[in-house]
Symmetry: C2
Amino acid sequence: MAIVVQKYGGTSVGSIDKIRYVAQKVARRYKDGDKLAVVVSAMAGQTDRLIELAKELTPRPDPRELDVLVSTGEQISIALLAMALKDIGVPARSLLAHQVMIKTDDAFHKARIVDIEAQSIQKVLDAGEVGVVAGFQGVTEEKEITTLGRGGSDTSAVALAAALNADLCEIYTDVDGVYTTDPRLYDKARRLDRISYDEMLEMASLGAKVLQTRSVELAKKFDVPVLVKSTFEDSKGTMVTKEDRDMERVVVSGIAYDKDQAKITLLGIPDRPGVAASIFNVLAQENINIDMIIQNVSADGKLADISFTVSLNDFDNAMRIVKEKGDELNARDVLGDTTIAKLSIVGVGMRSHAGVAAKMFNTLSREGINIMMISTSEIKISCIINEKYIELGVRVLHDAFELDKPGGQVG
Amino acid sequence: MAIVVQKYGGTSVGSIDKIRYVAQKVARRYKDGDKLAVVVSAMAGQTDRLIELAKELTPRPDPRELDVLVSTGEQISIALLAMALKDIGVPARSLLAHQVMIKTDDAFHKARIVDIEAQSIQKVLDAGEVGVVAGFQGVTEEKEITTLGRGGSDTSAVALAAALNADLCEIYTDVDGVYTTDPRLYDKARRLDRISYDEMLEMASLGAKVLQTRSVELAKKFDVPVLVKSTFEDSKGTMVTKEDRDMERVVVSGIAYDKDQAKITLLGIPDRPGVAASIFNVLAQENINIDMIIQNVSADGKLADISFTVSLNDFDNAMRIVKEKGDELNARDVLGDTTIAKLSIVGVGMRSHAGVAAKMFNTLSREGINIMMISTSEIKISCIINEKYIELGVRVLHDAFELDKPGGQVG
């Protein structure tokens, strides 16, 4: 008898009919004999409606109270799903964060789970009931309600699976798995049967929004196998799991892109220790994350140019700060560019295969795509290119690394 | 520095604008220096919308899950009101039942408060914050969410006032106080400045729906003065308080009526001990409350007729049960009548004044209103009459006991 945690996202429970459908799905699984905990998100659109309501009241709603407000969304879903289950004869019990004791820190809107007391949910499963658990929310040591940020229900599910020592965590969503690249961008994109935690982490952080990054980190940390599947279609899905030999044989597993990028360049700043740090310090104080950085020293060795990327959301704020800092440093100029995008290849096979970067750069250059910045990790190479070439770049890399073939390009 | 508990009903927080208005009202009071706990209901219509949603899923939603569902209504209100308060510079903190520890039994939909741990809310008030507390909901020893039934927020407020040993509990609503009778029925109805707990209890149980009966019982038990006032109009309101000499001088304080009544009569049943009990036992098993009862014995002393009243809601169910029972007892016939209503006069002054009943009966008879059943308590006389005479009955009694004059008919 396996212990399984299932998670259904907002579109999966977006209407009474869909909740009924999910209940049937859970019921079949329950009758197969598995012990089930089901994590549910708010009905699609509900969280946004609640935030709208708060914004109607005040442009800057109090963070604590906003979490109290939006966490009602999941409470509604779990009550309805538990009702639907009992209605078809499946013993079930809805559970809120303070009942399961999903303990988090007190960072409202982006709280991190610090612990789950498995006893209460374990008791429910042992009693033969399906535990229907509110995703996205937690509770602090002081009983304050918190939320985990967009996509937080994925993290709730994986954390619960870890606490229950579950055999599997199934994430049901509106896509049928993880693809070699975005199928809307390239119709040759292929669903992956399996992907490693590290690859999934890179894909998620590079803009492929199938799972919340934090959920993959937790899955890796506690070695929870995560199966991403479609709620309404029948498909094998993609298993996110630990790395094995087979995975290493594939050079590139996926191609990610992120258009939500902008570049800022400071021209002619003093080339002495601490200057770059002073710029990044003020940005960090404003909670602006820097991604890639390039620094060039001018011919005479006294002045430097520095470029870096930020997310598009932070661009206006970052430009304001950097311009002030530029004045202070007597920079020759501060330039902003919002027409860039990040194109990345990901694969654990890179570790053991040479020439991957060269192949990526050659492929892009053959199409006349200029690379402005490069960053690499053990299992990822990212290039900043002009946004208008992003679709072309995805397609030519997908072809070059033969991602349309099962197993891809095998080294 | 007084400790005051305020309660705002669903119509008082029925929109973002109204929540803003209530926040201003609370802010003024806070700035006067009072320590404030504010109990809030769900936004008007919200509870019904949630119940609709559940009913769309299944005609008989699970009671436990229904309480999880509908309690989100108050959670939304308290979050929004706390936001609105902080937005205008008043320190505030929303508090759910499990945070205040409003402990109840586990009778879902109609739970009774058994205890409130005053420490947590006391801590909030001592920190100079306004505690914004979810009405209508509680939590059991096992952390289950419960609700207190329609009007339950009144009870939350009074119970909180008792736990805090508050100086006053103010109930803000869409009427400006308690009236001598329903002003929609008779325009000479007069707002009472004061009314005793016992009178208020009778009025409430007789169908005057200003306060939940249970809240008045609690107020009486813990001697909490309750001021009923209008949220949006400026009015002195009505103070519900313990009895004093002045109150006893007034013979009749108010006239209540209840159209939600039906009468069932069994004709020709055996006149022997235990027969009536056997009928009422089966009704009690189905949770049907009996109000008035009349039994007549026939001329030969062997057969009896028995009549009793139930609420209109229970009528169909009660008729089915009584007909079965009637067959069993060889009753001559079972008759139902849904065209009746209950008309009552209430006043602590009755205790010390003779002839009140006679005056009531004479007044009704002068208008040709037939009295079918009578029941009395120390401070109340109720008559069952034909529903069509109810408005007339209210008016003639109001005039006869001079309720339009401050102080009424003084004995």
